[in-house]
Amino acid sequence: MEEWIINTIIRGLALGTPLVWAALGEVYAERSGVVNLGVEGMMILGAFAAFALAQSTGHPYLGLLIAAGAGGLAALLHAFLVISLRANQYVSGLALTMFGLGLSALLGRRWEGLPLLTTLPEISLLTYGGVALAVLLWFVLYHTRWGIIIRSAGEAPAAVDTMGVNVFLVRYLAVVFGGALAGVGGGLLSVAYRPSWTEGMTVGLGWIAIAIAIFASWDPLRAWAGAFFFGALFHLSFRLQTWVAPEPLQMMPFAFTILVLALATRRRGMGVQGAPEALGLPYIRGEH
């Protein structure tokens, strides 16, 4: 029994780690006022890039670095559309998800179904890195000059602009940073958690990362806890398959996401913990 619990925790951490990285990225993007529904797309691009690099060079860490670049680049596309061209943030994110899934499947054709030769352990430096990152990002958000700027861009972009800070740049940086983290999250899937490449291997984790950002009230520490919780939940749904048919269990994390979101909004009410006030709204200078 004890072993079973420890095992669940460890496996929870293992799958929680990719979720942590992606959710933290989304927290930062949304804190700056930009919803990015393309997390799934950025993660799968990251997963593919990491696998391709790790497979051809033998260095999984190099793969993760490239994954960050791929995720960041994909996020840059989203940023350009929604910040500069003021396109609808929801639709652009969906487009990014479709595009990421399609592109990675096309380019990954050659590697489809292959296992990775040089892998990272499930609990790697990046797992501890996830904890450290959550603490660091929490500190930056609440107690530094940059944190105030990022939060203000999401709450009242016009206030940021008139104080001589470039809102557009702040949002670009936050979105691209978020994309890079999502890329690493995806990369962890293909080099550590399930060291292989199959198209669509993110199986909805990107959406769960977005939900985590929301019910964590856009707080990095709570996002870490939420990611770990979902990691454990996913693992449980695997373990229980010995006794129960797999499908109802596979549904569980998704049903749980809805449930947790419903409960979170209940608890939160309308107080100070709500969403950033300018979330999802493009900033247009001179109109506020």
């Binding site: 104080m163 001589g164 107080g271």
Partner: protein, 495 residues
């Protein structure tokens, strides 16, 4: 600023405007709504780029491409609608983008400097308080402190007194005088004539995007300024007949309601409006006026108490029931609530009437009946639109308000709830709206008029109720009310 020209689609906001401001003076920029005052200072502050003309600062031509440039050049602006992050503390707001703040724990560092500056200029405010918990005049102080802490030597204030009581305005003037004494230049935008004489050294009058004249305040009198501002003589007093009083149009008994944030916004409001009477509700913004209007019109739940419209209990009924009880509503945010900008002028004219005959029969709308009504309303209320099928957002503010009045009055309401009916409108549109409201009063409608413009309240009302922190703190006949008395009541001090 020399020969500044700024063109917007369909309107020339600034036409070769030249404005010269000296150090150590308060320079008033006077003009009615739509005269181009705000556009001019937005150009100066780098929010808009001028199509033509240049800005000269301390003898050197400069380009202000963004607010950032403006700040480095020593320009500071206190906008009409404050640009503060409501959830952040005062200190966090002030250190946002402030050069020279340290990277870690910047708020702590700024708190000390805030207290210091606050005492020097008489702008005390608690640096650790979240902005949403501050009063409007405190928020204004934060905006001024933000500019001063950035070393602004030229301070622009856009309609700073429109949200203040007369007493708060006086203390703001004292702050401005102190700044003037320290060698700052102050640009003060207003359309209120008495303020100009109270605080300005020189005055520049704008009309329809052009400078009428710049003159010394000591050489100007109110009537002359009014003529320059509007371009004709202004009726200072409205013609009004005694009107016939009827029964109760609206009765509120011990009404309580929560605000959006879950705080008590109305705390036991009792008030009646009789038919054929205008009751003005005066108060500083944020003392429960918005909630009062919303509870009465069925847009917000009451926590307790009753609302009766024409002897019918409509407490916690929805907007539709209140409408059907015979109440019209001219909403506060006319662009955001009053119309659907992307839908046509015609559809907006039936926005609250579409479900009744003749506009719909059964489940279907009747386009012919609708267009017939629309054409009649457009002529009757002189709504200027080339085509009623165009989206309503293309209309000017005055036309939108006439559209809303046309729609609301077409049901012959016995109660009219009018929230800030003329805010942001120019003088001629304001006069029209006022006479339309008075006309309804003569036809024995009861009118609840909520406004922050004391002059409007004084000019239109039969009785004036003062609201402070969610309570009606006094009701007087308009004939006996004075600005001073109202001002004191509005800040909760019983005179």
């Amino acid at each position: 600023m020399e020969e500044i020209t700024k063109q917007f689609p369909g309107v020339l906001a600034n036409d070769r405007v030249t404005l010269e401001v000296r150090a150590g003076e308060v320079h008033a920029l006077l003009g009615e709504n739509g005269a181009g005052k705000t556009t001019l200072v937005k150009v100066l502050y780098g929010i808009h780029q001028p199509d033509r003309g240049r800005i000269v600062l301390r003898g050197r031509p400069v380009r202000v491409r963004s607010p950032h440039d403006a700040l480095t050049l020593g320009l500071g602006m206190v906008p009409q609608h404050f640009l503060l992050v409501r959830r952040h503390t005062v200190a966090e707001n002030v250190c946002l983008g402030l050069a020279g703040t340290r990277a870690l724990f910047p708020a702590v560092q700024v708190e000390r400097r805030l207290t210091e500056l606050g005492t020097r200029y008489g702008l005390a405010v608690n640096p650790r308080a979240p902005v949403w918990s501050l009063s409007i005049s405190e928020q204004q102080r934060v905006e001024i402190l933000k500019a001063l802490l950035r070393g602004a030597t030229i301070l622009i204030l856009d309609e700073p007194t429109s949200v203040l009581t007369p007493q708060e305005a006086q203390s703001l003037f004292a702050v401005l005088r102190r700044m003037k004494a320290e060698g700052h230049a102050v640009i003060f935008i207003t359309h209120k004539l008495d303020e100009v004489n109270a605080v300005a050294d020189r005055i520049t009058v704008l009309r329809k995007g052009r400078v009428v004249d710049t003159l010394l305040a000591s050489a100007a009198d109110t009537r002359m300024l009014a003529r320059m501002m509007v371009g004709r003589d202004v009726e200072f007093h409205l013609q009004r007949s005694p009107g016939t009083r009827g029964g109760e149009a609206l009765r509120l008994d011990n009404l309580w309601a929560l605000s959006q944030r879950g705080l008590d916004a109305l705390r036991g409001v009792s008030l009646t409006v009789n038919r054929g009477e205008i009751v003005g509700v005066a108060g500083v913004a944020g003392n429960g006026q918005t909630e009062l209007v919303e509870v009465v019109t069925g847009l917000r739940q009451a926590a307790s108490g009753t609302v009766r419209v024409l002897d019918r209990d409509v407490t916690n009924a929805n907007a539709r029931t209140v409408l059907e009880a015979g109440a019209a509503h001219i909403p506060e945010e006319r662009m955001r609530t009053g119309i659907v900008g992307s839908m046509s002028v015609a559809e907006n004219l039936i926005l609250r009437r579409y479900r009744y005959p003749p506009f719909s029969r059964g489940m279907l709308l009747d386009p012919e009946a609708i267009m017939k009504f629309v054409r009649r309303m457009i002529t009757e209320y002189s709504i200027a639109t080339p085509d009623p099928r165009l989206p309503a957002r293309a209309l000017s503010g005055g036309n939108v308000q006439r559209l809303i009045l046309a729609r609301e009055f077409s049901g012959d309401p016995w109660l009219i709830v009018a929230a800030h009916p003329t805010s942001g409108l120019d003088v001629s549109a304001t006069e029209q709206i006022h006479s339309l409201l008075l006309n309804r009063r003569e036809r024995s409608a009861g009118i609840l008029l909520v406004s922050e413009d004391l002059d409007e309240i004084l000019a239109l009302s039969d009785r004036i109720a003062v609201i402070y922190e969610g309570r009606i703190v006094g009701i007087v006949p308009a004939a006996t009310a004075t600005r001073e008395w109202l001002g004191l009541m509005m800040t909760g001090q019983r005179p």
